[in-house]
């Protein structure tokens, strides 16, 4: 479990200090994020919980090196930017690539040879349960299937850090809850460091080790909750009193 396993000597793989982001606009700049500081340890599953507009996507874009912070620091272990796997709110699949070809894109970019890439992609397809859909086009996939492809693509190159931007936000409630179990299982199997953002309390509690609550714009960390629910987690855990207690705590800080 989280507390038992963590060695106090482990170094954080990512330290974020006093990070702020201001987008230029006509009246003095739009403050998207304000004074964000946190640490991420290997194999953490951290969730940022915040309403829309609280700068969640902006934060992930900074972590993925897509956007420079206005002020503040971002220190990665060994001072090098880690390999990133990213899942976006919209599955962001390339419509001209089949499921197989979408999944192996990160390997192509590393110039891995075709046959090895296909074998690895096939493993990922099995991991996310899409056997038989290798040659399907994205337009023929349901929302849930498309997000599975996106998750497989984000994991295939064995990234150091997985960034998830409301990955299930566009799915219906039933599919979304099924995907939580799936993601939890995949995380258990791959033991990745994950930073996820969401606006769903249940989603953050079900998946994360730690939930950081962001305020309405500008996004500021208002609350830091350790989720001491046992793993592996299954659906039933959402109906335990402890889950309910944690959920109430989060709801109270948000309101």
């Amino acid at each position: 479990m989280y507390f038992a396993v963590k060695n106090m000597n482990t170094k954080p793989i990512l330290t974020v200090k006093n990070l702020s982001v201001v987008f230029p606009d006509n009246n003095g700049g739009l403050h998207a994020l304000d004074d964000i500081s946190f640490e991420v340890f290997p194999r953490d599953f951290i969730c940022f919980l915040g309403p829309s507009g609280s700068g969640k996507t902006t934060l992930l874009r900074i972590l993925a090196n897509l956007l420079p912070p206005t002020t503040g620091q971002l220190n990665f272990i060994h001072n090098q930017h880690p390999q990133i796997g990213m899942v976006f709110q919209q599955s962001n699949l390339m419509p001209w690539r089949t499921v197989m070809d979408n999944i192996k894109l990160p390997l192509e970019l590393e110039n891995m040879d075709e046959s090895t890439a296909r074998i690895k992609a096939q493993e990922m397809i099995e991991l996310v349960g899409l056997n038989g859909f290798e040659d399907s086009w994205p337009r023929d996939l349901s929302g849930g299937m498309a997000q599975r492809v996106a998750i497989a693509r984000a994991l295939i190159h064995d990234p150091d850090l997985l960034l998830l931007d409301e990955p299930f936000g566009s799915l219906d409630a039933i599919t979304r809850e099924r995907m939580w179990t799936e993601l939890s299982r995949i995380w258990q199997a791959k033991q990745k460091t994950v930073i996820m953002v969401t606006h769903s309390i249940n989603e953050s509690l079900f998946l994360a080790d730690r939930v950081l609550v962001l305020t309405q714009r500008p996004g500021k960390i208002k609350f830091d909750l350790k989720v001491d629910l046992p793993r592996p987690r299954n659906d039933d855990i959402r109906y335990t009193p402890h889950f309910g207690k944690l959920a109430r705590k989060l709801r109270e800080t948000i309101e």
Binding site: R61, A64, N65, L66, I84, M86, F88, Q90, N92, M94, P95, W96, R97, L105, P106, E108, L109, W137, P138, R139, H157, L163
Partner: protein, 269 residues
């Protein structure tokens, strides 16, 4: 229940029916033309019946001169397309990627769109002579604009999310070009190419009509001067087939490259 096998919808049989209807329609058109030219009282000289055109075609095909003219026009059209598309694609991509370049070039681009190439064709023929070069130039100019615009629009339409994805995976500029920008812009680009292909035929003919040594436009002039009306019709039909052929080739390329789009069915020519 009434299960009539003839009522079962079958896509391939629908396609075959569509083709028969087209053949029937063309056949009817020819019959009407033949009847009109015989019974309408219009001079055969002005409206020769299709059979006469057909036999004129056979004669011209046998002495080989027809194919020389077709070959010349075809080469001008294709060379013009290649030159125009190459320049338009390179410039279009650069403009799409650089707002500064767009600002610098936009007055010229707008002006070049406003100039009807057909109107300056006589000048081009005057400057560059009666040979193929002036026609290739006219074709290239006429093809240039639609392909340029479609390249710009196509590249600008690439969703930001794909760039984010590629950058998060540390893709190089070349990888982004090859794996995102080209495939994403391809549908719109090929739309421009399809328009360009037909325009290129027009460009070549206009150039040849103004002043040339060979080519189908030249053939039309020669036949007209010699009061050989059936030959004019032969040349016109050859031009139609040339344009249709090019259009068909581009449509075929589209169908092959854009298999991933559901809309590729609409290109069923």
């Amino acid at each position: 229940m009434d299960i009539n096998p003839l009522k079962v919808f079958h896509p391939s049989s629908a396609k075959r029916n569509g083709m028969w209807l087209r053949v029937l329609s063309l056949g009817l058109g020819l019959v009407c033309w033949q009847i009109t030219s015989i019974f309408s009282g219009v001079e055969v000289f002005i409206l020769p019946p299709p059979l006469k055109v057909w036999s004129r075609f056979l004669v011209a095909a046998q002495d080989g001169s027809l194919f020389r003219d077709i070959g010349v026009t075809f080469s001008e059209v294709v060379l013009g397309l290649i030159v125009g598309v190459t320049f338009a694609t390179i410039l279009g991509y650069s403009v799409a990627k650089s707002r500064a370049l767009e600002q610098v070039l936009s007055p010229y681009l707008v002006a070049s769109q406003a100039i009807p190439v057909v109107a300056i064709a006589p000048l081009l023929v005057l400057w560059f002579g009666y040979g193929m070069f002036s026609k290739v130039l006219i074709c290239a100019l006429i093809v240039f604009f639609p392909v340029l615009i479609n390249t710009i629009v196509g590249i600008r339409a690439v969703p930001q999310a794909f760039y984010d994805l590629m950058k998060s995976l540390r893709a190089s500029r070349k990888q982004i070009l090859m794996k995102v920008e080209i495939p994403a812009a391809l549908p719109i680009f090929l739309g421009g190419l399809r328009i360009g292909a037909t325009l290129s035929v027009i460009g070549a003919v206009v150039g040849e009509l103004i002043g040339s040594k060979y080519g189908l436009g030249n053939l039309i002039n020669r036949a007209r001067v010699g009061y050989d009306m059936p030959m004019v019709y032969v040349a016109v039909f050859m031009l139609i087939f040339l344009a249709l052929g090019l259009y068909g080739i581009v449509a075929r390329i589209e169908k092959k490259l854009l298999r991933w789009q559901e809309t590729f069915e609409r290109l069923n020519v």
